[in-house]
């Protein structure tokens, strides 16, 4: 049984109990515990169920590599699935639930899968569920899906806050073990700006647990001194609970900081985006499990994890621990257990001979060591009851059984190469240590082509304390170009390991089908072998076929063993088989931290006009246009949106309406070559426009397609003011700058996007002039300001520029004033207009009024494939100009064809409103069996002015077919006939706007 020891535990404070709940039970741990150590202290060995076979699983590791002990933590909106118990600090009131079982952890119906496992080998699902065909969707898939997933989904919405933080540093060091600390000391003393981060809450890494002696004293003393030295350096920043998550191109490092494990006051997590001149990975090494039958039974753990639990938390995974190893380091675990007063009945060592200093120490304490021996099988179901032994060099014939309640295994150590590899760093196979380690000659390279990541310490394959500090010292000194000495480290010399990819070496199928490689995804040795047999011989195929390494631990424990098995099966060398690709993040990070501050009100910028608050206060319903929001309509209480729109149109046509047009783009184009530039930008001839006048203009892209339209005002001989669509302002300004800077850079033209300088209000309707005159300040009579003219002046004491343009067919003025005075003018117009029946109107009324007049709308009549000629806008395309942007594009055969779909109006025969986007059908079908089409509705409304449906449409040769009736198909298969007519439904001679 697992238990709390009466002594030891360097990270816990036994005097402060912490209560928590696990699967509804109230349990107690102590301050400093992780959830995993606290559960072990309560003899809760069973911590979860595996993914596929629902096998009982206990904790296997003590850090982020843990594959089994995943828990649902927290409650309600703060619930979080798949938390590793090994990384979850025990906080008061913590609630945790184990996962992937029903009805309970102890008794799980899904465990039937384990019994059926012979029918469920790797890839079985590709081979079955084929018949009958509908059964996949209706029977098989739902069943498979029901058993999918691990934790239960979070509930949301998440009440917590997250943020990002951007820094630039000379050197970012990931990993705060002795190697990382030493690297920071050297770089810091050399005057570099340094950011040192450590994923756990402690500095020092493995050294204090492993008992290294540094500079003649315990490692902890050296660590404390190093931390103090670093803290005193102004150019060094240190962060704990900060995980290096990913390395990206050009020295970009992503790191994830945990700020709170409970209910946070400030942000819960912080994502660091670091621009580093150089990145140092001092991420240590991870121990490998050994594949033997039953290596997944709760109570089988990594030897280093056993040591961590004993030394750090004063928790023993068992009273009698058998150790299985192929190397000397595991003997440290034996010694730690003995030191804690626990029993180690046996050490099973796969090596034919066991001689090193550490084994000798164990031997000297009376521990039985069996060389050349293997574990044939672990006995027990929900916890270890004993082990059966056999010869390593055999097939598994059992020679002896030993009773124990825990097994500590060590297959050797692999450097943590993830961050090194994310951006292309390559690893080489080190046969002596049986692992892949970063190859300094094939480091990831940055913007200048030189290496930007350096691995040091155990992460570099220099595993033991002495060489770990040695590599950190030598490499970082070289990097920052100083000389430095490594502190003296005393470690026990270790005899070489003997690679052991399977116990026993020639295990039977029966045993191999119980040897787990990937614990979470239940991938066994036999699965990898089956994949190889079936031709999935690329390591990437094996991964995808078996799901090896695809679980939430991303194969931190399984990858090397898996590819060694694959290599063995293929008769290849391990380096020829290679690794799969390492991808960020190093360990999973929350979506919330990635989204950062962008939630709620600041999810996206919301652009507001100066009148925004007024609209809001007056019940506007909104239409998002880019990041702006424009009022769609202003329904009054009890009024439907549709009715409001109809009212707004009628009122504007009868009295006077106000439209907030501030969002329209306003770009100033100035210079001696401005007119020439304008002629290239617009399809129209703009150079002939007179100062004081306005002209409606069209802009195309080089393909010839219409991209924007708007009114251009000539301010003086060399200055134009270009109005663009709301969505177009930034885009068109960028378009202008692009042409000016990259094509016509010798032209003397400056542009300025003055969109936000002005609030713009359209005052529209027969009483518009009266309303403006009532505010006083300007003569806006027909003579003083004719149609398509503009004039500067003052209205109601506010400096204003008034344009006489109309997008509604009514008498209409657009008044531009400085934005900070826009609201004042609006208020005055509303107040003064009361007597005249003034009402604001929104975008929908605007749309209807322009459609009644047959004016096109970018985005409705155009969709990126429409040219001005399609819209009957030939009059706005200058024939006199040799060139304008898009002219050549429009000359291409398909665009110049005479059977293009062209703009017309439509009237349904029954007055109904055609649906937006409906297509006009033609006879027959095309070569692909699709119904032939001859046009489509581009805009369609109920016209309050005409009292019936009106529509604009693009119809094949449309303008030649006025009067013809065509049928529009409804989605239900019915058809609605409509007569082709002029798109100008209202006031065709433009009499109303020109008064």
């Amino acid at each position: 049984m697992s238990l709390r020891l009466s002594t030891g535990g360097r990270l816990i404070d036994r005097t402060t109990p912490v209560s928590f709940r696990f699967n509804g039970r109230h349990l107690k741990g102590v301050k400093g515990d992780t959830l995993a150590s606290a559960l072990l202290a309560n003899d809760q060995m069973l911590m979860g169920r595996s993914f596929k076979y629902h096998r009982p699983r206990g904790v296997m590791a003590a850090g982020p590599e843990e594959p089994n002990a995943l828990m649902g933590v927290g409650r309600g909106e703060r619930f979080e699935p798949n938390q590793r118990a090994t990384q979850q600090p025990l906080t008061g009131g913590l609630t945790a639930q184990s996962q992937n079982h029903w009805p309970s952890l102890e008794f799980d119906v899904g465990a039937i899968n384990a019994r059926l496992s012979r029918f469920l080998p790797a890839g079985f699902y590709y081979k079955t569920f084929l018949f009958p065909r509908p059964a996949w969707k209706h029977v098989f898939e739902p069943v498979i899906r029901q058993s999918a997933g691990l934790g239960r989904p979070p509930e949301g919405p998440d009440p917590d806050r997250y943020e990002h933080f951007n820094v630039n540093v000379d050197i970012a060091i990931v990993g705060g073990g002795i190697a990382g600390l030493q690297a920071a000391l050297i770089a810091g003393r050399a005057g570099k700006t340094v950011l040192l981060m450590e994923q756990t809450a402690q500095w020092g890494g493995r050294a204090p647990v492993d008992g290294d002696l540094i500079d003649g004293g315990p490692a902890q003393a050296w660590i404390d001194a190093a931390v103090a030295d670093l803290a005193a350096m102004e150019n060094v920043q240190m962060r704990r609970e900060t995980m290096g998550a990913g390395v990206y191109d050009h020295g970009y490092l992503l790191a994830h900081e945990t700020l709170s494990h409970g209910v946070p006051e400030g942000p819960r997590q912080r994502l660091w985006r670091i621009r580093a001149g150089h990145i140092v990975t001092a991420t240590g090494a991870i121990e490998r499990p050994i594949p033997f039958a039953g290596n997944d039974v709760p109570g089988v753990m990594l030897a280093s994890a056993v040591r961590d639990f004993v030394v750090n938390y004063g928790v023993a995974p068992g009273k009698r621990t058998v150790i299985a190893t192929n190397n000397d380091d595991a003997y440290r675990t034996a010694l730690a257990l003995l030191y804690a007063g626990l029993s180690v009945p046996l050490i099973v060592d796969a090596r034919p001979e066991v001689t090193g200093a550490l084994p000798e120490q164990a031997r000297a304490r009376g521990v039985r060591i069996e060389a050349g021996t293997a574990i044939a099988k672990v006995k027990g179901g929900k916890r270890v009851e004993g082990v059966a032994l056999c010869a390593q060099d055999g097939e598994g014939a059992v020679t002896e059984e030993v009773v124990c309640d825990a097994v500590a295994m060590s297959g050797g150590w692999s450097p943590v190469p993830h961050l090194w590899s994310h951006c292309g760093g390559k690893n080489t196979w080190d046969a002596a240590q049986a692992h892949f380690a970063p190859d300094p000659d094939r480091a990831p390279t940055g913007a200048d082509g030189s290496a930007f990541v350096t691995a040091v310490g155990a992460a570099a394959g220099t595993l033991q304390g002495d060489v770990a500090l040695g590599s950190a010292t030598a490499r970082i000194a070289a990097l920052v170009d100083v000389s430095a000495d490594a502190p003296a480290v005393e470690v026990a010399a270790e005899a070489p390991l003997a690679a052991c990819w399977m116990m026993p070496a020639r295990a039977s199928y029966e045993l191999r089908s119980k040897m787990f490689l990937d614990f979470q995804n239940d991938v066994k040795v036999s699965d990898v072998q089956l994949a190889a047999q079936e031709g999935f011989v690329s390591v990437e195929h094996t991964k995808r076929y078996t799901t090896l390494g695809m679980a939430t631990d991303q194969g931190k424990l399984s990858n090397i063993n898996g590819l060694a098995i694959l290599a063995q099966e293929l008769g290849e060398e391990i380096p020829n088989v290679g690794t799969t690709t390492f991808r960020p993040p190093y360990a999973p990070i929350s979506m919330a931290s990635i989204a950062g501050e962008a939630r709620g009100e600041i999810f996206q910028p919301l652009r507001r006009t100066p009148m925004h608050d007024w609209h809001e206060a007056h019940g506007a319903t909104w239409e998002p246009v880019g990041h702006w929001r424009r009022p769609y309509a202003f329904p009054r209480s009890g009024e439907s949106v549709h009715d409001a729109v109809q009212r707004e149109v009628k009122n504007t046509r009868q009295n006077v309406g106000l439209l907030d047009a501030s969002t329209l783009g306003k770009i100033i184009v100035k210079g001696p070559d401005a007119a020439r530039f304008m002629d290239m930008l617009y399809t129209n001839m703009m150079s002939t426009l007179k100062p004081g006048k306005c002209r409606y203009g069209l802009m195309c892209n080089e393909n010839g397609f219409l991209v924007d339209d708007g009114v251009v005002a000539r301010l003086d001989e060399d200055t134009f003011l270009c109005h663009t669509t709301t969505g177009g302002a930034d885009r068109i300004h960028a378009h202008m700058e692009e042409w000016l800077q990259t094509e016509w850079w010798d032209w003397k033209v400056f542009t300025l996007n003055a969109t936000e300088q002005f609030a713009q209000i359209a005052v529209v309707g027969p009483k518009a002039r009266d309303l403006l005159h009532s505010l006083g300040g300007m003569d806006l009579s027909k003579d003083a300001l004719p149609f398509m003219g503009w004039v500067d002046g003052t209205i109601a004491g506010i400096p204003a520029r008034v344009f006489r343009i109309s997008f509604s067919g009514e008498l209409s003025f657009e008044v531009a004033v400085p934005a900070n005075r826009g609201r004042a003018l609006w208020d005055k117009l509303v107040e003064a207009g009361e007597a005249l029946g003034v009402m604001p109107y929104g975008t929908e009324a605007l749309h209807i009024m322009r459609a009644e007049k047959g004016f096109i709308m970018i985005g409705d009549e155009t969709d990126g494939t429409v040219i001005p000629q399609d819209l009957g806008l030939d009059w706005a395309i200058s024939k006199k100009k040799d060139d304008f942007i898009g002219k050549r594009g429009q000359q291409r055969s398909f665009l110049a064809a005479d059977d293009r779909w062209r703009l017309v109006g439509l009237e349904t025969l029954d007055g109904s409103v055609l649906p937006d986007g409906a297509y006009a059908v033609a006879e027959g079908t095309n070569a692909n069996g699709q119904r032939n089409m001859q046009g489509r509705v581009t805009s369609s409304y109920h016209s309050p002015t005409l009292g019936r449906g009106i529509a604009m449409a693009l119809v094949e040769r449309g303008p030649e077919r006025i009067g013809e009736v065509v049928n529009f198909a409804m989605t239900d298969g019915s058809e609605v006939p409509a007569r082709i007519c002029s798109p100008v439904f209202f006031d065709p001679n433009g009499e109303k706007q020109d008064v």
Binding site: H250, A447, E738, T742
Partner: protein
């Protein structure tokens, strides 16, 4: 996550301060150009595995367009230069040659 130095203001730009603008050194062809030439100009793109000349705009900054010579496989940047030129400066060509002897790109490169 690229960083490119803006040759106008000297800022070491984060990729998120820039907008990418595709292939550099295109010659515009307007009315009067034949179909081949126009297609070439508007559509047919250099898409090398290796050195590429491309356009960028320091959009969240000084607003200027500039050119970069960059490898599409290693993302190494051989240099950036102002957009008001029809060919890459010699020193950038030399920097490329030092790494990729015999390189070529459209009309530029080493005639090895």
């Amino acid at each position: 996550m690229l960083t490119l130095q803006c040759p106008y203001c000297g800022v070491q730009c984060d990729e998120t301060e820039l907008t990418a603008g595709g292939e550099a050194h295109l010659t515009r062809h307007g009315p009067g150009s034949d179909a081949d030439t126009f297609e070439q100009y508007l559509f047919l793109r250099e898409n090398p595995r290796g050195v590429h000349f491309e356009r960028w705009r320091h959009a969240h900054g000084c607003g200027k367009w500039f050119h970069a010579a960059r490898s599409t496989t290693t993302l190494r940047v051989f240099g950036t230069y102002k957009a008001q030129t029809t060919e890459p400066p010699q020193q950038i060509r030399d920097a490329i040659s030092a790494v990729h002897p015999g390189w070529s790109w459209r009309n530029f490169g080493e005639t090895a």
